[in-house]
Amino acid sequence: MTQMNMVQAINDALRFEMQRDDRIVVLGEDVGKVGGVFRVTAGLYDEFGDDRVIDTPLSEGGIIGAAIGMALYGLKPVPEIQFSDFIFPAYDQIVSELAKFRYRSGGEFPCPMVIRTPVGGGIRGGHYHSQSPEAQFIHVAGLKVVCPATPADAKGLLLSALRDPDPVMFFEPKRIYRAAKGEVPEGDYTVPIGKANVARQGEHVTLVTWGAMLYESLDAANKVQAEGVNVEIIDLRTLWPLDIDTVVASVKKTGRVVVVHEAPKTCGLGGEIVALINEKAFLYLEAPPKRVCGFDTPFPYTLENEYLPLSHRIVPALLETARY
């Protein structure tokens, strides 16, 4: 075990797997010589060379399209999109091509790859360096979507993603790139895709979240504990296909649920989770499922902390739900 932050854990996973599997190729804007604008790929260029850690022209569509071609060939590309806000020029390649390749070819052309991209707010990035577009990928059949909240999960999930037969969107919560620190197993270490983590045990309310909001949720849970409300927190880790069993089991226990995510509320993953709970645990519900989310506005610069579903907004939602 070594103490690492998220950036180091992801870097460690990439390096480990690149040593093990020479089909892995990292490509993207500024991923090479400079090691990424968040330094996540630092050192890989020096270790693996320009053939495996490739600075590309400024075209997300080109990066993903070329990565698809590499995957069809049999390589295992790991494209980086510098900010997930800039993934939209590649949206067509991802939703029309990547997600459908195995299906439309009757299995002849699987297209495994891991698209890494920083996600979410917390760095005062305004409209275009803060968004959380996971729902826009979950809605599209054929993609797996992952978002780790701890360094160990970041490493373990990334190694799983790199060995997964399907395309994986790997969202890295940039707010906690350096702030989240923890013990990370050395060497080979995987965390299964599709399994949530119960980050806090509780009896009264289930809180479902992921990524950077895990820490705000833990903070809020501690605060309401003082008022006698005992919160169970599920860190989804895999956003799709999500770990329905863990979520439903918890809600059946607590009868109450709050979902917390950074993305705008409307048509976000939170609504899907509420609908699934209705389908699978309706008779257990003792209070209306609640969502604490980003507002349905573009992501603001100055008022970022008012926009985000931080602890101060989670606390009242937990109290209201617990006392309903």
Partner: protein, 381 residues
């Protein structure tokens, strides 16, 4: 606003003609009347016959597919009428190890590479034998075994993919070349731009075949770009661009072979603009008479690639009316059982709906499959 000011401006582009197959810079081996313009056809007599047979077969299949659609027996067809020399000539120039990334008009090329005719018709009928399980529209087939990509509808998407594929091969020291097909309209797509740009920067072993057939559905080439030619677009990417007469199969073979060799030598990609003509509507859903000037069709009929090659072969004494009749009979005989088998096959099984979304079925698809299998059937099967 409708006094024509902009009209004139917009059509300023008309001063040059990006779709002139007889222009001076266009590589040509055969004259429209089938006369050899150079010393050498560049292909053996035997190859010329193989190409001729393949082109005729392609056209007959095409006509049959249109008929099947008109009869309501298949839902749709998009073909290569008039573009056979471009498709067959370029595919013929590929080596077995090379890969082909098709647009949607290249079924003739895939068949030439070995895709079974049955497989093609199983796709047209979307039946249970279709290896893609009836999931895609007609003419959206897949045949990995012959190193052919998967046909997609969104225009241009295959271009960057072919670049990534060729790039990967190069990284692995695999000497293959990836040839990618697209239309004149596709040159306006995002992927044309990023694909050629990446290919130029990383010197990938690609051959880009732009089938300039004069139209993107109803939009003529001069409305597609103000570039002098489509080949000239290579300049923007440091990629040599060359125009060839796409209705002259020898010119297509020659141009493509040179491009393949260039790529194999490590000299990077080539953009080929093959000047040809879409001699049908865009697809069975389109009625070209709404927008196509009648005289244009006429002048291109005179440039028909099959007629041209036949004149050449007849002139040489290597083709006769009898040969033609027997070839046509042969293809018809080949088609009969294939169509019959494709048509009488069942639709794909219900559970195939959920397969291949992922490598294994996640819980939500297991649930949805169970729901579908337990529920009532839709009408119409």
């Amino acid at each position: 606003m409708t006094d024509g000011t902009l009209d004139q401006a917009a059509h300023g582009a008309l001063r040059r003609e990006p779709h002139d197959a007889l222009a001076a810079d266009v590589v040509r081996v055969l004259s429209p009347e089938g006369q050899l313009l150079t010393d050498d056809a560049g292909v053996t007599d035997e190859e010329a016959l193989v190409l001729y047979r393949a082109m005729v077969r392609t056209r007959i299949i095409d006509e049959r597919a249109v008929l099947l659609q008109r009869q309501g027996r298949i839902g749709f067809h998009i073909g290569s009428l008039g573009e056979e020399a471009t498709v067959l000539g370029s595919v013929h120039a590929m080596r077995p190890i090379d890969w082909m990334f098709p647009c949607y008009r290249e079924f003739g090329g895939a068949l030439h590479r070995g895709m079974p005719l049955q497989r093609y018709f199983d796709n047209l009928f979307g039946n249970t034998n279709d290896p893609a399980k009836g999931r895609q529209m007609p003419d959206h087939w897949t045949y990995r075994q012959a190193q052919v990509g998967s046909v997609s509808s969104p225009i241009g998407t295959q271009i960057t993919q072919a670049v990534g594929f060729a790039w990967a091969a190069r990284l692995r020291k695999d000497p293959l070349v990836a040839m990618v097909y697209f239309g004149d309209g596709a040159t306006s797509s995002n992927e044309f731009h990023s694909g050629l740009n990446f290919a130029g920067v990383f010197k990938t072993p690609n051959v880009f075949i732009c089938r300039n057939n004069g139209w993107a559905i109803s939009v003529p080439t001069e409305r597609q770009t103000a570039s002098e030619t489509f080949a000239a677009k290579g300049v923007a990417y440091g990629i040599p661009g060359v125009r060839c007469d796409g209705n002259d199969v020898f010119a297509v073979v020659k141009t493509t072979r040179e491009a393949v060799l260039r790529a194999v030598r490590g000299d990077g990609p080539t953009l080929i603009e093959a000047l040809t003509y879409r001699m049908s509507g865009h697809s069975t859903s389109d009625d070209a008479s709404r927008y196509r000037p009648e005289e244009q069709m006429g002048s291109w009929t005179a440039l028909d690639p099959i007629r041209r090659l036949r004149l050449f072969l007849e002139e040489r004494g290597s083709w006769s009316t009898q040969d033609q009749t027997s070839l046509e009979e042969q293809v018809a005989a080949e088609l009969r059982p294939v169509i019959e088998a494709a048509e009488k096959s069942a639709p794909p099984a219900l559970e195939t709906l959920f397969e291949d979304v992922y490598a294994t079925l996640p819980w939500h698809l297991q649930e949805q499959r169970a729901e579908l299998l337990a529920g009532p059937r839709a009408k119409g099967h």
